[in-house]
Amino acid sequence: MLQVQNLCKEFDGIKAVDDLSFTIDENSIVALVGPNGSGKTTVFNIISGFLGADKGIVVLDGKDISSMSPFKIARQGIGRTFQNIRLFPQISVLDNVMLGLKYKTGDRFSSALFQSKRMKKEEVENTRKAEDLLKFAGLSEKRNALAENLSHGQRKLLELARILALEPKIFLLDEPIAGLFPETKRTMFGLIRKLKESGKTILFIEHDLHSVMDIAEKIIVLDHGKKIAEGAPEEIIKNKEVLKAYLGKKSL
């Protein structure tokens, strides 16, 4: 469903992404792993339109989305989270989720100015939807708290709930388990599995190869912007190139 073809991106002569191609199948969980600085987040930024690629294209469901602006790509069905978590800090947890939800006409300027009945109706429906999503993420009792007052783990969960609201076709999660306690990590993986069961597609970034072994169906390994391996977890863990990238040549 998502194809990345011959992607290249240079920063001041350094190749952050080097002729990268891969395909993500529908309803799969794929991990994009690699050491720090291997270009994982850059790939995400290019797919979601925040960065322009020097070369190559990104295709979603047969449509070239490479030159679209980020908000249009989001509307095409790509929902992403951010490595350093980008919530709306000084508004409530519930409103954070509601900002992901779609409105038919209720979010228009005219609806607001005239406080249209339709808007109020949609607002009630969407509030209910947002509450369901908060329940899914286990954040129901925090609904009225400001997002900035959440713990790190809760923020990660809220960010997930917020892109759930967007109902994307594919979820791009940038290090969803970074810095989480083992228990929250399990919660996060549990949620990701649930997403997959409900028919969603997930591509996530993680730098620790071992923590993705149980959950990922396919692993793509990047090193210095190049794809050095792609395959099922059990193949990847035996792959010499991967071990070299992670452990260095000497330890082999």
Binding site: R80, Q90, L99, G100, F109, S111, L113
Partner: protein, 289 residues
């Protein structure tokens, strides 16, 4: 008594400016420093229409507001590309440009000589010239502005504005066309500022460029910050307080040559105190970043 009503009228006009700037700065988080330029356009447009063509101020105020909106859309254009300090500088520049045009295009605006004898509003042949009736007129416009901005901010649309203020990139990732919202916000903010300008011109009956200096923009911004960004009640408090406070200096028997600079000093001092103890303003919840 008339003096008191006069203060209320001025405070009311400032409230309109503050409410409309709050939409731009407080709710959407766009650092705009040229708000008085929109008021200037509104004031000159309706005054010139009334003086040169005898057009009723009722029409003039709308024309002025629309012209201000057009200028707002023009300002919004750089705001789509610029952020933070850079946008502040760009809007500041706009304030200077509009002021210079008002001052130097003598053929149209009579420059520093100003425009005297601007007629007041009239209803059914009755001139709204005494302060009481003008106060009512201003309050009606304050109410309309308040109602409009409250409706705009109290809605899914308003939530998106706050989202843009909080994190533009995240808003885009949520599929929001950030540029469209910024454009609308500038147009609406400028519209009401234009109305405030017209109300001022037809009240004082004389305008000259000195009423629309960049310093005035900063005063309005101060009112927003003082009352609280993203708080409509705060805009009332900010505008009334900062209009009334300097007036109190008069009662201390200070000559105006001392009072004017003192006013600026007090504003400055208040702002420093506020930023230390209450960065979200008197009524606001949103903290400066």
């Amino acid at each position: 008594m008339e003096y008191l009503i006069h203060i209320l009228i001025v405070a009311g006009i400032y409230t309109i400016l503050t409410l409309s700037l709050n939409l731009i700065v407080g709710y959407t988080g766009l650092a705009a420093l040229g708000h008085i330029a929109f008021a200037c356009i509104g004031a000159y447009a309706s005054s010139l229409l009334a003086l040169n063509f005898g057009i009723s101020p009722w029409i003039g105020i709308i024309v002025g507001a629309i012209l201000a909106s057009i200028l707002g859309a023009i300002v919004a254009y750089p705001s789509l590309k610029l952020k933070g300090d850079y946008l502040a500088l760009a809007t500041f520049g706009l304030g200077v440009i509009v002021y210079s045009i008002a001052k130097n295009w003598v053929g149209l605006t009579r420059g520093p000589m100003g425009l005297p004898g601007i007629p007041s509003f009239s209803i059914f042949g009755y001139q709204i010239s005494n302060v009481w009736s003008y106060l009512i007129l201003v309050l009606i416009f304050v109410f309309i502005t308040y109602q409009a901005i409250r409706n705009i901010t109290n809605s899914p649309f308003g939530r998106i504005l706050k989202g843009i203020r909080e994190d533009e990139i995240a808003s885009q990732a949520m599929g929001k066309n950030v540029n469209k919202y910024k454009l609308i916000v500038f147009i609406i903010g400028a519209f009401f500022a234009g109305i405030a300008g017209s109300l001022y011109a037809h009240y004082i009956s004389f305008i000259d460029p000195s009423s629309f200096t960049v310093m005035e923009s900063i005063t309005v911004l101060l009112m927003v910050v003082f009352g609280g960004m993203g708080s409509l009640k705060g805009s009332f408090v900010g505008a009334f307080l900062l209009v009334i406070l300097p007036e109190l200096l008069r009662f201390l028997g200070m000559p105006s040559s001392v009072a004017a600079p003192l006013r600026q000093m007090i504003y400055g001092l208040l702002l420093v105190i506020l930023m230390i103890w209450r960065p979200q303003g008197l009524m606001g919840k949103y903290k400066f970043k």
